[in-house]
Amino acid sequence: METVASTASFVSSASPVAGETDESSHGFLRTAWDFSFRMVLRYIKNSYKDDPFRTFLEVCLIGFIVWYMAKPKYNIGTNKVELSEKEIDELVEEWRPEPLVPALTEFERETLDKAIMIDGPNGTKVRLASGSNNKPVLNFASYNFLGFVDSPELGKHAVESLRKYGVGTCGPPGFYGTLDVHMELEKQIAAFIGHSAAILYSQAFTTTLSVIPCFSKRSDIIVADEGVNFAVQQAIFLSRSKVYWYKHNDMADLERILKDVNKQLVGRRGKNALPRKFIVTEGLFQNTGDISPLVELVELKHRYKFRIILDESFSFGVLGKRGAGLTDHFNIDPHEIDLLIGALCFAIGASGGFCCADKDLVEHQRLSGAGYCFSASLPGILTIAAADAIHALEADPDSYLDNLRDNAVLLRTLLKRIPGLQIDGAADSPLIHIRLAPDALVRMKRSGGAWTKTDIDRVLTDVAEEAQKDGVLLTRAMYVDDHERILPNSSIRICVSSAHTRKEVEKCAHAVKSAVSRITSKKR
C-alpha cells in the first residue's frame, strides 16, 4: 500500500513542475510521512540536477510499470469463449435434461406390485394384507433375532413413556432434544458392552454414516473389508479418506495391505506425516452372514498401529454369551475396538443406533457427528423400549441366545441338505443367505444362454412366493444394485429368531425345500 502511494507521489513529482516550489501547499503535513516525502523530493531534484538522463530513464521505467500493471490480464490455459446473450439463450433452450428418474424396468415394476404389506403387528407370525387368505404366516424375513418385536418386554413402559415424553422430541440433542432417558440408555449400553461411553443416534444407517466421517478425514487412511454393508460403504465414501479394500475376511490380504500402507508412510514428513489409520469391518456381515475374526484383527491392529472401527449393527444382541456382540463372542476387551457402532433397530427391536468409544471421542461426536448434531433425537418411547429390551437380555441372556443359536444351527443344517442351494455364513449366525448353486443354475437353463442378474432375482422371488404359499414369509435381499461397490450375489435372506420354535424352523426349511424343487424343475 505504502509503496504504491510513494510511487504515485514519485511519479507526480518526477515531472519537473510538480510542486517544486509550492512548499506551502504541503504546509499542513507535519508528519513523518511529510518528512520522507520531502526527502524523496529533494533526492529527485538533486538527481535531476546532476543527471537528467537518469531521471528520464526512471520516468520511462515507471511509465512502463504503470502500463504493464494496467494491461488487461491474460490467463494461461483457459479457453474461455465469449458468447452473446442470444447464443446463451439458444444453448439454454437446446439443453434437454434427462428425466429426473428413469422409468422402472418390467421386473422392478413387478417387484413393486408384489411388495409385501403387513397387516397388523410385525413379529414371528404376521398377517399379510396382500395374501388372499388371511392366515398368519411365519416371518423369517424381519431382523427380529431375539423376538423382541412381538415380546411384551418391548412395550412394557410404552404408555407411561408416551404420557411423559410425547412422541417426538422436537429438537436436535444439542437444543433441548436430549431426554434424561437418552443419557440413561447411553450409560446402560456402555455398561452392557463394557466400553467407556456411548452416544445414541436416531437411525442405524445414519449412525455409521456419521461416525466414520466424524473421525476419518480427507488425509486419513481406511483399510476396509470388501464385504461390508452399504452404510459402511457410504460412510467411507463420505469421509473422502484414502481407502484400500481387502478381500472379505482374508487376514493375510489385510496384513499385506497394512504393511504396504505403513511402508508408504515411512519417510513422510511435514504436517501430515502420520495420518489416522483405520481398519473398518463388520461384526456379523449383513451380506453374507460371516463373522469377523476379531482376535486376528486386534493382533494386526496392534502390530501395525491401526485403529478398528467395527460395525456391530447385526451382531449386537446376537453374538456372544451375553449377547453383547463380537467382543463378547471372542472374549476380547471392548476397549480394543476404538469405535464400536451398533444398532438398536434389529435384534433389540426398537429404533436407532449407537456408537461406543472412549469418553473424549463420544463427546467429540456430540458436536461433530452430523447425524447426532443435525437431526432430532430418538423418540422417548423407542428409547425406553430399547432400554427395556437390553434389560431383559441382560437379566436372562440364555433364554434368548441359546434358543437363537440352536435355531440357527438347525436351520442351517436343514437348508444345507437341500440340493441346488448354496448356503454361506458362519455356523451359528442367525443371518442365512440362500443362493442358487452354480450347477443348479446350469441345470435349470436348458435353453442355454447366460443368466442375467434379473433372471436369478426372478427365480428367487418365485421361490419366496412359493414359500409364502406354504405359510413362510421370506424376502429376497434387496440392494440398490448400481450403488453397491461390489454387488453381492442375489440371495434370499433368512433371519432366524429365538422366538421361533423347533417345529417352525423345520417348517421353514421344508417350505424352502419344496419351493426350490418346484421352481427349479420348471422349464425355462
Partner: protein, 593 residues
C-alpha cells in the same frame, strides 16, 4: 453449536467457488438489469402497502388478509427488500432507481461499535486459547496427551479441529445439550445440573426446572403427552405394537405406513409420498438416488448439513449460489448450462436446484415463485426442503407452496420432516408417482434403513388429520393451531423489534432470530434466560458467521399471549443488561415524530 453448517458447506464448496470466481464471464447483464427494473418498480408500489400494514394496530387482521390475498406471494418478497430499504432510511432515493446488489439484510445497520467489539471479543477468545495451549503444552503436557502422536497412533482429533471445542464450546457447554425430563411442549422441564470444574464434569442434581420453551420446533403444539394424538398413538401401539424391525423395501411396510404415506401425499398436494424414519436421512439418503455422476447440484449457501451430505454422497458436481439470491442462481445456471460438465464439456445429465423453504437459522423464506419461474425457463429439477416450513407456513399449513400460492406440482421433489410441526419424527419425500415408485426401490433409506415405528406413524397421521380438518371431532382445532401460530409469530417478532432488538427473518416466520453479535453474550443470555425460567437456543460460529451470534426463538401455537408477554418482559430486561437493544434510539426517534 453447529446446526447450519454454513462453514462446512463453504469449505466443501470452496474449490468450486474458486473456479466460478476465477472465470469472470459476464452473462446476461441486460436481462438482469431488466429484471431489476421491474422488481424495483413493483417494490415501490408494494412499499406503501407494507408500511401502512405494519403501522396499524390490527396486525393480526392485516396478516390474515395479507395471507389470504393471492398476491401475497410477491408481497412478502418485496417486503424483504422494502424492509431493508426502510432500515437504511433511503427509501425515496431508491424509488425508480436500480437496486444495489442484494446485501444480506441482517447486517445492514449494525452499529460499528457492536461489530468491532464482536470481532474483538472473538479474537480475544482465540488469542487466549492459543496462549493457554502454548503454556499448557509447555507445563502440563499430560493434559494434552490426546492431541499428540502417542505410541505410534495419530491423535484422533487434530489440534486445530479441537481448538474451538476445547476453548470455546466447552466454556459455553452449559448453553447446549441440556437434557429435558418431559414433553417438549409450550413448557418443558429441564434437568438441573451443576459443574464445579468449568464443565469438565457435570453433575445432575435430579431436580427439574419448569421453563417456558422458546427453543423446541414444536410449532403447532402437537408435542403432547395427552390429547388426541397421544391417545391415537397408544391405540395404534396396542394394535400394531412398536416397530417393524425391517427395511421399507423388504418386510417393513405396514397398512398404517401406506395409509399415512397416502395422507402425506394428499396433505402436500402431490401424487405420492414416501416416508423415511429419520429427518436427516430423508435428505442424505434420497438425494443420491436422484442425481449422480454427470449431474449438477446447485445449492443455496445456507442449506442444512443433511442436504450437503446428500449432495456429497450423490457424487455429482456441487455449486453454491448466494443465500436466497435468485439473481446469482440465474447467473450460475446460465453459466453452468453453457459450460457443461467440467473438462469434457458434455451437457449436464440433470441439474437439481436444492433450496430450503424456511431457513432455520435466518427465519427467511426462499423466493419460491421466482425459483419456479426459473425452473420453467431453464428446465432444472427443483428440490425444496420443507423441514421447518411444512405445517408451520401457509394458511392451510401446507408449507411454503401454500404461502406463495405455488402449485406443489411445480416443485419436482418436496421434502419435509415430521419432527417439527407434527411433534413426531422422521421425514417424507413427496412428488410424482413415477418419482416415488422409483425411490421405493432405489432410495438408500427405503432399501437399507429401518422403517418408521408405529407410534411415530400414529402421531404423524393424527396430527396431520387435525391440520387438514379431517378429524371430525376436532375439525377446527388444527386451523386454530395454525392461526395461533401465525398470530404468535407476528406478535412476538414485532414486539421484539419495538423494544429495539435487532430481529431478522421474514414476516410471519415462526423462527425469530434475535441478534447478539458478540459471541460471549451467548452464554450470558442463556444463563439469564434460565434464571428467568425461559429456554432459548443460542447459536454462533460455526453455525453462523463469526460476528452474527444470535438467539433463535421458536414460537409455538402452544404459547398463550401471557407466555409471550412474560418472555418479552424478561428478554427486555436481559436486553438492557447486555446492551442488546441496538435500535432503541431509532425507536425513540420514531415515537417522538
Amino acid at each position: 453449536m453447529i446446526i447450519k453448517s454454513q462453514h462446512t458447506a463453504q469449505a466443501l464448496f470452496s474449490s468450486v467457488t474458486e473456479i466460478v470466481d476465477s472465470s469472470h464471464s459476464k452473462i446476461g447483464p441486460s436481462a438482469i438489469n431488466n429484471n431489476n427494473l421491474n422488481k424495483t418498480q413493483s417494490t415501490g408500489t408494494s412499499l406503501l402497502v407494507d408500511s401502512t400494514m405494519i403501522e396499524t394496530d390490527e396486525k393480526t387482521q392485516a396478516i390474515s388478509t395479507a395471507l389470504s390475498t393471492p398476491d401475497r406471494s410477491f408481497q412478502s418478497l418485496e417486503q424483504r427488500d422494502s424492509n431493508t430499504q426502510r432500515k437504511q432510511g433511503r427509501l425515496a432515493a431508491f424509488a425508480g432507481k436500480e437496486l444495489p446488489h442484494e446485501k444480506p439484510p441482517q447486517m445492514e445497520d449494525v452499529p460499528l461499535f457492536t461489530t468491532i467489539t464482536a470481532y474483538m471479543s472473538f479474537m480475544l477468545i482465540l488469542a487466549i486459547a492459543h496462549v493457554e495451549d502454548f503454556f499448557g503444552m509447555l507445563f502440563l503436557p499430560q493434559k494434552y496427551v490426546n492431541l499428540r502422536v502417542q505410541n505410534g497412533y495419530a491423535p484422533m482429533v487434530s489440534d486445530f479441529e479441537s481448538l474451538w471445542t476445547r476453548h470455546v464450546y466447552f466454556r459455553m457447554l452449559d448453553c447446549f445439550n441440556r437434557p429435558i425430563g418431559s414433553v417438549a411442549g409450550g413448557y418443558v422441564k429441564l434437568c438441573e445440573r451443576i459443574s464445579h470444574d468449568y464443565n469438565r464434569t457435570i453433575h445432575y442434581t435430579g431436580g427439574l426446572q419448569n421453563v417456558l420453551n422458546l427453543a423446541s420446533y414444536n410449532y403447532l403444539g402437537f408435542a403432547q403427552g395427552e390429547g388426541v394424538c397421544a391417545d391415537r398413538a397408544i391405540k395404534e401401539m396396542d394394535a400394531n405394537r412398536l416397530t417393524q424391525s425391517s427395511t421399507r423395501a423388504e418386510v417393513g411396510s405396514s397398512r398404517l405406513l401406506i395409509e399415512t404415506e397416502e395422507m402425506v401425499a394428499r396433505f402436500v398436494g402431490t401424487e405420492a409420498a414416501l416416508i423415511v424414519s429419520m429427518g436427516y436421512a430423508t435428505n442424505a439418503l434420497n438425494i443420491p438416488a436422484l442425481v449422480g455422476e454427470g449431474c449438477l447440484i446447485i445449492s443455496d449457501a445456507l442449506n442444512h448439513n443433511s442436504l450437503v451430505a446428500g449432495a456429497r454422497l450423490s457424487g455429482s458436481i456441487i455449486r453454491v449460489f448466494k443465500h436466497n439470491d435468485t439473481r446469482d442462481l440465474e447467473k450460475l445456471l446460465r453459466r453452468s448450462i453453457i459450460e457443461g460438465q467440467p473438462r469434457t464439456h458434455r451437457p449436464w445429465k440433470k441439474i437439481l436446484v436444492v433450496v430450503e423453504g424456511l431457513y432455520s437459522m435466518e427465519g427467511e423464506y426462499c423466493n419460491l415463485p421466482k425459483i419456479v419461474e426459473l425452473r420453467h425457463k431453464y428446465g432444472f429439477y427443483l428440490f425444496v426442503d420443507e423441514a421447518h416450513s411444512i405445517g408451520a407456513l401457509g394458511k392451510r399449513g401446507r408449507g411454503v407452496c401454500d404461502l406463495f400460492n405455488v402449485n406443489p406440482r411445480e416443485v419436482d421433489v418436496l421434502m419435509g420432516t415430521f419432527t417439527k410441526s407434527f411433534g413426531a419424527a422422521g421425514g417424507y419425500i413427496a412428488g410424482s408417482k413415477a418419482l416415488i415408485d422409483y425411490l421405493r426401490l432405489h432410495s438408500h433409506s427405503a432399501v437399507y434403513a429401518e422403517s418408521m415405528s408405529v407410534p411415530v406413524l400414529a402421531q404423524v397421521s393424527s396430527s396431520m388429520r387435525m391440520i387438514m380438518g379431517e378429524d371430525r371431532e376436532h375439525a377446527l382445532e388444527g386451523q386454530q393451531h395454525l392461526e395461533q401460530l401465525s398470530e404468535n409469530s407476528i406478535y412476538f417478532a414485532q414486539k421484539l423489534k419495538d423494544l429495539g432488538f435487532m430481529v431478522i427473518g421474514d414476516y410471519g416466520a415462526p423462527i425469530i432470530p434475535l441478534m447478539l453479535f458478540n459471541p460471549t453474550k451467548m452464554l450470558a443470555f442463556a444463563h439469564e434466560c434460565h434464571k428467568r425460567n425461559i429456554a432459548v437456543v443460542v447459536v454462533s460460529y460455526p453455525a453462523t458467521t463469526v460476528v452474527t451470534s444470535r438467539v433463535r426463538i421458536c414460537v409455538s401455537s402452544a404459547h398463550t399471549r401471557e407466555d409471550l408477554d412474560y418472555a418479552l418482559e424478561q428478554i427486555s430486561e436481559i436486553g438492557d443488561l447486555l446492551m442488546l437493544k441496538i435500535h432503541k434510539n431509532r425507536i425513540k426517534q420514531k415515537q417522538l415524530k
